[in-house]
Subunit: 452 residues, 2 copies
């Protein structure tokens, strides 16, 4: 049971400090600002921290604590964790200097494992950033908010063996106004591993999709079972890094993990209905689209653009990803010819040309998606044409609402274009800035690689 | 000889207007603001436009004109072009409604060809945006600047059959402060085609690299010859769209071009030393890196990061692209151990961890690049660690300067990170926001696919 990690009523911060040189100072500020439960700073050097009573040790708190966050030198952690047995239910150890740091650190990590085995608290970490949770208000990430924005609440949960990866992704998602439920950086996994976390998220009603960054998986069979159960309820996607030898060696030294052969992972993902992600960009695409957009019923994509070259490029990308870009039926083509100017190329991809207006996009979308010929659409609006206005986004969203099929917006460009993206996002339309990403989003909505 | 297109002393705008509904109004404003030579508006409906005398026809100007821009209905173009024989040396026909618009338009386009054959002016277009040239000051792109920013002067030249593609790329490059020399959208190529343009750019001393978007190539053998000559002097990269059937069909209706089999293009690129680009993102990467960064002497990449997971991901991407990520020599590793904290992972990829400082990055870069073990480096700085400051960019640029080898910056993240990118750019370091793009930039600097 991992509830103590994700729904704690009380949190102790071991190593609490206001010294800005200490990572714990940022954690303290984040907990004080965002965590609604009881907060106990623990540090024998202080009687009070930031207006809160500071305790000399965990037992000194005098009552049970759901979660203790350890943010101090690795050498101190085992002894303090032993004191915590019977006092705290679970612990996030953000401290580095364990198995990833050589034999001395590995010995310390063995001590942690031994404490867990002998009935001590469950542990996430060490060598991790821990938990960012928009439900519980917990934030153990020691990166200052001006350097890493926190995403708002959403239904996406992220598991990441790498802390820096989790941080960077969260920062990007926040900049694109994509919300999250829970983001767990679990590092060396001395105790809690990807299987435990996946089982928790599988049952978690607040989580609508799971995206994972993996360097290694410890319990192969359990992972496949957990992932299969989870993917039967919500989309699950995973990036397994280290598929090349150079990278695998690096992963080993990074979190002390034995990476294993990539083909084994790929087979496991397939068996478990997990979408295989191929890199950082792909990871971001999955985050942006899986939790917020309904899945497509099939892989037949309609592409509508006002820039012919962009339509051709998107069609290439879609077909390369195994999607189908079928031609228009004669009926639909005839209907569209009646309502669109003759300069338009009535086909798939459809080119509305630089003479486009908002209405042309909305007509083209409605009349192609409403029948049974297409499962989803990519609307690639380039903002050059003077006939496009701010109303484009609401008109597209309205037609999308009527057809009930997924619509992905692809809108490459510079500053003007990036500013306009908010018009689409605020109406629930996922926005991508490149043909490759938009096509990939479409393929993920079709369950890329998991339907055979 | 295409000099009249790229170094005109005088320009006439046929169809000149101040009516904001007319595309020619934007062209007029752009020419008036940026073109330093003589400018002649031509429109029988006006005596004066924007303070300039307006002529009723091209012959009415009464002297020879280097370049005429035609921006009016397709049906009017052939007659006006006939009048121009002996008056103008060359013409950019931005008007659409020719071969791409069906049989009637195709007949008009045949008339244009006939005029060229019988000694009329050379033509770029029709159905194009024409020329944006930071050397001559010419800008025939009819997209208002608030919707499409114009890049500053640089050494990159771009050829694009698609106008919207050229516009979007220019807008993105401007937002990332990448300069260009000349950008030509040449559309239906009734006369001037990719071979003519490539021959011009090959000899053009202002052009340091050429990146092309192709839907079709008309003269295969001539293209290979021209491309080979050009690539022997400067990097040449090409994206051939329509490599899938759906996309090829769309390309046909877009610019009336017969696309041809993709494998033929691929073989031609290889033969001509042209780097093959695989999509829009790839096109942008090529634009960002080829004109501004010296080529690498080989494909041995050193990867230095403060986020272990990011290093692993970049290593995967590099190896997938055929680059080599060799281990550190024992000597280099020993040297680095003496100057870096024990928590660092001294390997390739190198993980400087969240304890990183500016100096760690600069030490790691200097000591790995200075010997003969590596040809270039990817520096992947994540801005979370508090020890990184604004000075990082200048320290990296300084070490790069000493070793003389290419250094690519990879800095994924949100708002804070994007703002900091200017620190690197202003010191001549190319910046990418994802591991995939950074690795691809490295592979292009190694002449991806052209060395066999």
């Amino acid at each position: 049971m991992l509830d103590c990690f994700f729904n704690p009523r009380s949190v102790a911060l071991v190593g609490a400090s206001l010294n800005p040189e200490k990572l714990s100072s940022i954690i303290f500020q984040r907990l004080k600002a965002g965590f609604p439960g009881r907060l106990y700073p623990v540090n024998p050097a202080h009687a009070e921290i930031g207006g809160l009573k500071c305790y000399s040790s965990l037992p000194d708190i005098g009552e049970e604590v759901d979660l203790a966050v350890f943010a101090l030198g690795a050498a101190h952690v085992p002894a303090l964790l032993r004191e915590a047995v019977g006092v705290v239910s679970c612990a996030v150890v953000v401290s580095g200097g364990f198995a990833e740091a050589g034999p001395g650190g590995a010995a310390l990590e063995e001590e942690l494992k031994e404490i867990v085995r002998s009935g001590g608290p469950r542990i996430i970490g060490p060598n991790c950033l821990g938990i960012y949770d928009t439900l519980s208000g917990l934030d153990t990430y020691f990166i200052p908010p001006e350097r890493m924005e926190r995403p708002a609440r959403g239904r996406l949960s992220i598991l990441s063996q790498s802390g820096s990866f989790a941080v960077t992704v969260m920062d990007e998602l926040a900049a694109e106004e994509i919300g999250v439920a829970r983001v767990v950086s679990y590092g060396n996994k001395a105790d809690v591993n990807e299987c435990d976390l996946l089982e928790f998220l599988s049952a978690d009603e607040e989580t609508g999709a799971v995206v994972m960054y993996l360097e290694s998986v410890d319990e192969g069979r359990r992972f496949v079972d957990a992932a299969r159960r989870c993917s039967s309820k919500k989309p699950v996607a995973a990036l397994k890094v280290g598929h090349t030898e150079a990278a695998a060696t690096a992963a080993r030294s990074h979190t002390g993990a034995l990476a294993g052969r990539y083909e084994v992972y790929r087979a496991a993902f397939r068996k478990a209905g997990v979408m295989e992600l191929r890199g950082y960009e792909d990871f971001l695409v999955a985050c942006k689209v899986l939790a917020g957009v309904e899945p497509a019923a099939g892989g037949r994509v309609m592409i509508i653009t006002d820039g012919g070259g962009m339509g051709v490029t998107i069609a290439d990308e879609c077909v390369d990803l195994g999607l189908d870009v079928p031609p228009l039926s004669d009926e639909t083509a005839a209907e569209l010819r009646a309502v669109l100017p003759p300069v338009c190329s009535i086909a798939n991809p459809m080119d509305l040309t630089g003479s486009v207006t908002d209405r042309h996009f909305s007509e083209a979308l409605a009349r192609t998606l409403e029948g049974d010929d297409f499962d989803l659409a990519i609307v690639a609006s380039l903002w050059g044409p003077p006939g496009l206005t701010e109303r484009l986004a609401e008109m597209i969203a309205a037609k999308k609402g009527i057809t009930g099929k997924p619509v992905i917006v692809c809108t490459p460009g510079g500053r003007y274009t990036r500013e306009r993206a908010v018009l689409f996002r605020s109406r629930g339309l996922p926005v991508f800035f490149s043909p490759g990403e938009a096509a990939r989003a479409a393929s993920l909505l079709c369950g890329a690689g998991t339907r055979e």
